[in-house]
Symmetry: C2
């Protein structure tokens, strides 16, 4: 269980020529256990409970590293803070204009035309981010 999670991270790090540190192991475990998008500050807070002294700059550096290794996806849902999502399968997000809550949407979005348009322009897209905006159920009720 945890051993396999650690192993997966260690393999990914070594494959990229990076070192395996306790900070990275803890951060990766926290991401896996959260199972959902979270802000850097939230991830740092939870992780610091297990590894006191863990600093925010390290969290940012590590999350950026993980993103480069394809272990997580950055989600810019419009709120003040960038979110980091351990789900790497294609899925959309819904962000509430009022309360800012961000939820997963388990639905695929066909962005083939957009990808083709990007490639036609000489670019090489590697990820599609889809964010729907509007009012969430709670905010509609109130």
């Amino acid at each position: 269980m945890s051993a396999t999670v650690d192993q997966r991270l260690a393999d990914a790090l070594r494959a990229g020529g990076h070192r395996v540190t306790s900070q990275r192991l803890v951060l990766y475990r926290v991401l896996e256990e959260l199972g959902r998008h979270a802000s850097a500050e939230e991830i740092a807070r939870v992780s610091a409970e297990r590894l006191p002294g863990l600093s925010l700059p390290t969290v940012y550096a590590t999350l950026e590293l993980f993103e480069g290794l394809g272990l997580l996806q950055r989600v810019d849902a419009g709120g003040p803070a960038t979110l980091f999502d351990p789900r790497t399968d294609p899925h959309a997000h819904f962000a509430c204009r009022r309360c800012g809550a961000v939820t997963d949407l388990d639905a695929a979005v066909d962005a083939a035309a957009a990808e083709a348009a990007a490639r036609a322009g000489g670019a090489e897209p590697d990820h599609v981010e889809v964010v729907l905006r509007g009012l969430c159920a709670d905010c509609r009720a109130s």
Copy 2:
């Protein structure tokens, strides 16, 4: 030409019970003339050439107002600054991971499944934002 642009804004403002001010007229004209997404700071800089003294807080407040009136769309492409896009027709964006450049993609994206998923959860989406990430043509070359 400009008269019609001004008229369109005045109508939209009055319809919402808002006042028509020179700041709002200038900002709206600048957005229309730019015809593409721009950061608040860029919009402020161009606008201040025509209306010296225009302040950044006013720019932010006005852009937020315009967004509420449906005159522009906010684009969170992942860069440090939020972008504001006068194009309100559905279109996707491409953001370069390396240089941060954001370009328009004239391609429709079918988000019907995601919208249905959001509605199934009780939410009411009113806008879909699609951002592709990867390397732009220039950054691939270098």
